[in-house]
Symmetry: C2
């Protein structure tokens, strides 16, 4: 009797996490001689525990499956559910009884390092009970912080969004070029600066904005920052500075936390201020120059307008590769990307041991950050540029993108 | 001897203000039997006073003129320079001497109501000295708040950006649909709610997010707002609320000002909080539900990724129409849009007396806002939907939009 496939999504969404889902589902449906049903878990492993599953083949006749490719967010819904460390916890037999009841032979989980932790635990538990269920992780994260892979699906599109938007903000900031101004752009990335570093791609020519780029990998010094801003304003009257939300003093204190004694709101709660807002106030106070801060916010991970063709195609092929890896007997693996050539860029899918990936974080190499910590090097540009290439035409309906959604 | 043309840009930029510039310049260059030179003012009337002008024909061989169409920001640079009310002020003869020195016969100014004030004053001064210079205003503003015109260039693309982004944010917000959450999206518009109202277009089906929409045209009651949020959460667990930055209590106090006694930063300055942030804290405190606020910020006026084809084409044709209106002897006029049919939509350019446009603001009609002030009606949808139709392929280079910029 043929086994069934189940696929779920977990953690924060990206612009292409549904591309990975499309890759898994379309490849599994194609292999109708290998699989009986292709199920989706609604709201990840947490939803599965509540028997929330759906038959993914129902998306084919409605055309929703094709729409998935360009739909941001997690179509199946997500969760942030951490399985217990103790494999003797009763949740494991509960889960595997449900797998058996649904005749699941192949389990795919699309997510970041927390999700890979789920893949690791399920595959280890499966081994411990001699279950032949195959458990495969499909990577996704705009943070690009997974080890054992050249990059992660979701990063390219987020990087393209950041670079495009910073270029546009720089143009917007320069319309009054007879008046000095500072624009501080806060970009996602609590611990890894990949996405902030991608703002370097916005430069149209040497010496163009963003002039200053600060990542969390290097200690942030407020005095040096102010000196840099003052110096840069001499040659760039409308200065754009990109900072990671996670910039910190190198001793474990986020820069935004320096503002935490700032004041309480009218309910007596501490005001939560981002690092961008904090630095906006700092520049205003210390340099007396016109300044504003812009938080790029959730559009970084859910904008469909800046989808990278490279990123989307890779996310789809990563999902499809995962299905074939599982068919070939692999389990406890994450699909990884290996860059086989740089010019021209070429990527091949491979597999990596999920146990050495989960719960690890990969930062930007320090040698790709300039010595004074205020810029990134050409090595980073060469690394990131191929990942944002190519555009995607998103299907439109009545003037707006036509997204898939669960009814 | 043929006269020369000069064109400038003023006020805040939009995604299509350069489309209007393209319209004026390309039409004027085409009419080489009517005009000698086509000049651009750099940084508006303020830059012109400092003799900052450029020959726009130099953009043709480089291809920059074509790129203008899809370049956000103000290519020529902008200014916020208000001409004196007193037409006896010496700045007027100074300006007109410069016009004479440059043999200017046609003056085009692209901007919002402040810029129309400049057009009004220059045309009235010209009349007072019997100058035959023709002064024409070309409208632009994402705020859509100019009177005597159906809508303004720039609004359609900004509305498309808002609707697209709110749809994406709604999808992003719904990935954990087993947990209640409120997302408050703050949209530009200090006095007019047109752009915030455009968020209604994001709804994919009846009852879809954004559920609540608040405009500055109607007094905002915090208690009623909280009750609405609580009620809406019962049917929409991941609630999206769109508010205009300018929502106010109806007695002249912006909602964000209720937070102004919130606290001072570490420099002793009052913290500036947006209305979205203020309501985020209010909901957190009073309803105890997970809540975040997102400020859409400057991308509303400078994103090239959501250009409306309708908006761009209209901005170009408005500029070209202005050139022909001036040739036909019109002066002291703004180019206006007249909607001649709704289904299918049809627009014709016309002219309107700039003196009754400048310094006026047009809000969303109260009858297009639902009785409880938390939504907009189908009349608004029918009005706005045609303005966001059609997409534009922005020229790309190395994975990013290729924009024109002054060297």
């Amino acid at each position: 009797m043929m086994k069934n496939v189940i696929v779920g999504q977990s953690g924060g969404p990206t612009a292409v996490i549904n591309g990975s889902l499309y890759g898994v589902v379309s490849e599994a449906l194609k292999k109708s001689d290998c699989f009986e049903y292709v199920y989706g878990m609604v709201n990840g492993i947490e939803g599965f525990l509540h028997d929330q599953i759906m038959d993914m083949s129902t998306l084919v006749p409605t055309g929703e499956l094709e729409l998935l490719k360009t739909t941001p967010g997690a179509y199946l819904g997500s969760c942030r559910y951490k399985l217990p460390e103790d494999l003797n916890d009763p949740v494991y037999p509960t889960l595997f009884e449900k797998f058996t009841a649904k005749n699941i032979g192949y389990f795919f989980y699309i997510g970041g390092n927390d999700s890979m932790d789920t893949v690791s635990k399920l595959s280890r538990y499966a081994a411990s009970i001699n279950s032949d269920i195959r458990v495969i992780g499909i990577p996704k994260t705009i943070d690009n912080d997974l080890v054992e892979t050249d990059h992660t699906p979701g990063f390219g599109s987020a990087a393209k969004y950041v670079a495009t938007t910073v270029r546009e903000i720089s143009i917007d900031a320069s319309v009054y070029d007879n008046k000095k101004s500072v624009t501080i752009v806060e970009i996602m990335g609590r611990h890894a600066g990949w996405l902030t570093a991608a703002s370097v791609l916005a430069r149209k020519f040497e010496g163009d904005n963003p002039i200053l780029i600060y990542l969390p990998e290097v200690a942030f010094n407020q005095e040096e920052f102010l000196a840099k801003v003052e110096e840069s304003l001499k040659t760039t009257p409308n200065l754009v500075v990109c900072i990671s939300e996670g910039i910190n003093d190198g001793n474990g204190t986020f820069i935004c936390e320096f503002a935490s004694d700032v004041g309480v709101d009218n309910f007596g709660h501490k005001m939560l201020t981002g690092s961008g807002k904090y630095l906006e106030n700092l520049v205003k106070e210390k340099l007396g120059v016109k300044v504003r801060s812009v938080e790029l916010n959730v559009s970084q991970r859910c904008s469909s307008a800046c989808l990278s063709k490279t990123d989307l195609e890779e996310s789809i092929s990563g999902g499809a590769f995962g299905v074939n890896a599982a068919l070939n007997g692999e389990t406890g693996k994450m699909i990884a990307f290996s860059r086989t050539a740089s010019a021209p860029y070429n990527m091949e899918c491979t597999t990596a041991d999920v146990n050495i990936i989960c719960n690890m974080e990969k930062g930007v190499p320090l040698e790709w950050i300039t010595k004074d910590g205020s810029d990134v090097s050409d090595e980073f540009v060469n690394y990131a540029a191929p990942l944002i290439q190519g555009s995607i035409e998103v299907p439109m309906k009545n003037g707006l993108p036509n997204f898939a959604y669960r009814k």
